[in-house]
């Protein structure tokens, strides 16, 4: 009975999550609650008044590895969190699929890679991923202090896994944050996210 109840609740959640209340630039970014790799519950609303970056992640994906092996993603995390931005790495890989990690594995990875997001959110059921309709790793979202989505798309303008493409790339996340913080309109507010498909549960 209990099991059935949970299954029914999951079906309802999935049905509610898929249709398009997803994240559209200019709209209010949907609030969420998720648990990070230290067991801390995080919500979007708790960061009201701050810029928030969401970074979809899969440590085995070559497009993600391009950013991490070059140190580029860590550099962005460090630079922007230093400037008061909340940076949330999100892992929506289902158990058994590429990129799935336990909390301990993720903490080991962050340490090994010198990654410094504010938190790494574990989303093995894919509900946060579906809420934002995250398609790829990486897929980046930027939310302003008023809670409005101001960027949805790729990390940069170099859709290739080639590590040589990191140098000289135009980083859309840094550009959106720079422009928004200067009170300017974000010049590129959407782009096609490129990368591996998010490894949602079947």
């Amino acid at each position: 009975m209990n099991k059935l109840g949970i299954a029914a609740a999951m079906v309802v959640a999935a049905v509610l999550a898929v249709p398009a209340q997803a994240a559209r630039v200019g709209d209010k970014a949907p609030d969420f609650a998720a648990t990070d790799s230290n067991g801390v519950q995080r919500t979007l609303s708790q960061f009201a008044g701050k810029y928030v970056v969401l970074e979809w992640h899969n440590n085995g994906c070559p497009f993600v590895r391009k950013q991490y092996n070059s140190g580029n993603m860590q550099k962005l995390q460090k630079e922007w969190t230093t400037r008061g931005v909340v940076w949330l790495t999100v892992i929506s890989s289902a158990p058994g699929k590429q990129g799935y990690v336990t909390a301990a594995e993720e903490n080991g990875y962050l340490k090994q890679m010198n990654a410094v997001p504010t938190a790494a959110l574990l989303d093995p059921a894919g509900s946060l991923g579906h809420l934002y309709d995250a398609k790829t790793s990486p897929h980046m979202f930027v939310i302003d202090p008023a809670g409005t989505l101001i960027y949805n798309g790729a990390i940069d303008d170099q859709p290739t896994p080639d590590p040589a493409s990191v140098a000289g790339a135009k980083n859309y996340v840094a550009q959106a944050l720079t422009e928004a913080m200067a009170g300017k309109a974000v010049s590129v507010s959407t782009s096609r996210p490129y990368g591996c498909s998010v490894k949602y549960p079947d």
Binding site: Y100, P159, T160, P161, T190, S191, C196
Partner: protein
């Protein structure tokens, strides 16, 4: 356990990038439609990919994930390569992430312009640096340096061992829409309604050329209208401005693919 599997996958990815030509997941070859080339006459070459079961590569608009294969040519003086041509793709993936690409095998044709001053009897070598991302449950990038040598002959006639690959590939390239057909699109709040008068068939799909116009994962509703058909295409979340036209490929079943350019009638302004 999971960590171990991850390590093996990462090593495989690294070695493929270092340059293995036959990655075990796909084989790629530079092929020619003819066994020789004639000075000053166009030459048809192709990139032939053969994929292991369950692996795919991507169309020019890859859809929600992935990237299309790329080629960088190294050609002798006087030769010029055209753009890669893309046979109609298929919808791949499931759920909220849908891609456009190819499984099993695909030939991407490309036409080369040749110089007129080549001596008969000489031979010419073409080199192509090809890169790709091949995916199943995971994605693996790859790269290969391919070469092909052809003799220069005054007249055609020499057979190419790859000749039979070209006929089906050319048949799957999108054709121009017949002049009697008419394509137009109407903007609705959440969708574009694409009407194609002249076209028929229940098995219609639209593949957009641009990445940010149509929601790839949304089902495409096809309805018959008098003397034509109508597809309802959900708008992409990434779309910020109504495009002047929808550009794409309409498929109506095997071997029936048409290049479509449909002017968009926008919603009346506020």
């Amino acid at each position: 356990m999971n960590g171990l599997v991850g390590t093996v996958i990462l090593l495989a990815a690294a070695s493929a990038w270092a340059g293995a030509a036959d990655s075990g997941r796909l084989k790629v070859e530079l092929v020619s439609a003819t066994g020789s080339l004639q000075p000053g006459r166009p030459l048809l070459l192709g990139l032939h990919f053969e994929l292991q079961p369950h692996w795919h590569i991507y169309w020019r608009n890859p859809g929600d994930s992935g990237v299309p294969p790329q080629v960088r040519w190294r050609l002798p003086p006087g030769f010029q390569a055209g753009v890669l041509q893309w046979p109609a793709p298929e919808r791949l993936g499931s759920g909220s992430v849908i891609d456009y690409g190819y499984q099993d095998s695909v030939l991407l044709p490309v036409e080369l312009q040749t110089p007129g001053n080549l001596a008969a009897g000489a031979s010419v070598t073409f080199a192509a640096e090809v890169s790709w991302v091949v995916c199943s449950d995971i994605c693996v990038p790859g790269k290969a340096e391919l070469t092909l040598t052809l003799p220069v002959r005054p007249a055609p006639g020499e057979r190419s061992p790859s000749q039979e690959l070209f006929q089906p590939a050319l048949a799957h390239l999108p054709k121009p829409m017949p002049p009697a057909w008419k394509a137009e699109a109407k903007e609705e709040k959440d969708a574009f309604v694409l009407t194609i008068l002249g076209a028929g068939g229940a098995d219609a799909s639209f593949f957009p050329l641009q990445a940010d116009q149509v929601d790839n994962a949304a089902p495409q509703t096809v309805t018959a209208v008098p003397n034509g058909l109508r597809l309802t295409l959900r708008k992409s979340e990434l779309l910020l401005q109504v495009p002047g036209s929808l550009e794409g490929v309409l498929t109506l079943g095997p071997g029936r693919a048409y290049a479509v350019s449909a002017p968009v009638r926008p919603l009346p302004g506020p």
